[in-house]
């Protein structure tokens, strides 16, 4: 009945673009988290810096250098899929738990939302699990504090509280 589609046209689909649902975010702005955790583990600053580099290489083409998302990202493309959303807290990635963010990045959106058509590729085999955690740690680091609090309160985060 439904036809879920998203994340069109990431240009570096084979080596880049990931994190349709994940990357982005401004470096400045509202107060940010002092400490970032992912899957219940603290993400060290060095890992976050590594994540920033990886984000620029694999995510920024679609999600924006400053994680601002694709232009006009709320409007469906001609393909019926949705453009890459922001990852700076103005999108909706903070409404996904850590396990879902990890799964979407590694295996594709379809792994979490079966049938959902997205231009975001699966990064399994392109990025290691550690790379993915680093990128997501970097992204979470730059969510506004209130958005991080929303994510921490999600049912899917209960195991990490």
């Amino acid at each position: 009945m439904n036809d879920f589609r998203a994340f069109p046209g990431c240009r570096k689909a084979t080596g880049g673009a990931l994190l349709a649902a994940i990357c982005s975010g401004a470096v400045s702005g509202p107060s940010l988290a002092e400490e970032v955790t992912f899957l219940g583990e603290t993400v060290p600053d060095a890992t976050i810096r590594q994540g920033e580099v990886l984000y620029g290489e694999y995510c920024a083409d679609c999600h924006g250098v400053n994680r601002e998302g694709a232009p006009n990202w709320r409007r469906r493309l001609e393909s019926g899929r949705m453009p890459a959303p922001p990852q700076d807290g103005t999108g909706h990635s903070f409404t996904h738990s850590d396990p879902d963010l990890f799964a979407m990045t590694k295996l594709g959106i379809d792994a979490v939302v079966p049938g959902y058509e997205s231009d975001m590729p699966a990064f399994d085999g392109v990025l290691t699990d550690s790379d993915i955690v680093a990128i997501l740690g970097f992204v979470k680091k730059h969510w506004p504090e209130d958005k991080g609090a929303i994510q921490a309160g999600l049912p899917g985060m209960a195991a990490f509280r």
């Binding site: 439904n2 879920f4 709320r74 049912p155």
Partner: protein
């Protein structure tokens, strides 16, 4: 006074009430309501009920009797009210714009900065943050205001159903957890019911669990009894005090759900153009047909034609 009762009832009761209902719909003069009232929007506000269409009406007895009321500037298309501020009404106007009243419609002022100059087909207040408003524009999508209607931004395209995007005809903010840190926005579309978490990540069918929970492979399929497939949903309301209680108006009749829209049953066979539910009592309903206003005090099991004084 004419009444309509849904099952259970005897054949005699059924035919008697059906005749009354037919008369109510087809012989409006019997009920003292001028033809052409054409109510397109109903809303509770501060214990009163307001009706908007070719003319405006107000009821202070939960829809039993109505009196004529001042109209906004323009033909109303949709209406919503602020749940915490009695008398604050928002009415969209055919052709574009939103009129806002702070005094039950005695006076109006224009709002809507940022909106395109097009009719808002549906309006709803957020059940969680009443100063947040949602609007739907045909051929376009969903818009949101987070400052009580002053300024607006586009937030999402239309639902994709039956192979194409569908216009949203009615919106209801439903205070049930989406599983994604917020609540749901339900939409009655030209081809059925959809909902989206208020983070606006994706439209989806109504199913028992949260936005992602029901998608886990291997889980037993839940019991669902959706609205008739493919029918347009012309009106949709949720009771603030009992958000799992929903009512929907379709061409096949008025439908009710007691579980957030997973299982529906028909509450009345008439075709309503607008519905309203008392925010403090899910059993108290008001419905408009092309010719009449009805009210129910038992969750739609029986209906009485309202009087316009």
């Amino acid at each position: 006074m004419s009444e309509y009762h849904s099952a259970p009832m005897s054949r005699r009761t059924f035919f008697g009430s059906a005749a009354g209902l037919w008369a109510a719909i087809h012989a409006p003069g019997l009920w003292a309501q001028p033809a052409g009232t054409a109510v397109t929007g109903l809303v509770f506000s501060g214990g009163d009920v307001l009706a908007f269409g070719n003319r405006s009406l107000r009821s202070s007895d939960r829809g039993a009797t109505w009196t004529t009321h001042p109209v906004p500037d323009g033909q109303p298309a949709a209406v919503t009210s602020h749940p915490a501020r009695p008398g604050r009404l928002f009415v969209s106007i055919e052709g574009g714009g939103v009129e806002v009243s702070e005094d039950f419609g005695q006076s109006w002022r224009r709002q809507g900065q940022g909106l395109p100059d097009r009719t808002l087909d549906a309006l709803a207040n957020s059940a969680k943050n009443p100063d947040t408003l949602y609007a739907a524009i045909g051929g376009d999508g969903l818009w949101r205001s987070e400052d009580a209607g002053e300024t607006w931004e586009f937030v999402m395209d239309r639902p994709f159903l039956s192979g194409s995007e569908q216009d949203v005809r009615t919106l209801a903010s439903v205070d049930l957890a989406s599983g994604m840190g917020g609540i749901w926005l339900y939409a009655g579309t030209s081809a059925g019911l959809q909902r989206v978490p208020d983070c606006f990540c994706r439209w989806q069918d109504v199913q028992p669990q949260g936005a992602l929970d029901a998608l886990v492979e291997g889980e037993k399929a839940p019991t669902v009894m959706p609205l008739p497939e493919g029918e347009p949903v012309n009106a949709l309301v949720s009771c603030a005090a009992s958000p799992e209680r929903l009512y929907a108006a379709l061409p096949s009749g008025v439908w009710a759900s007691a579980d957030g829209g997973v299982i529906w049953s028909k509450a009345a066979p008439f075709v309503a153009t607008a519905l309203a539910v008392d925010p403090s009592d899910a059993d108290t309903l008001v419905a408009a047909t092309p010719a009449d206003l009805f009210h129910s005090r038992d969750g739609g099991q029986s209906w009485v034609v309202s009087a316009i004084l």
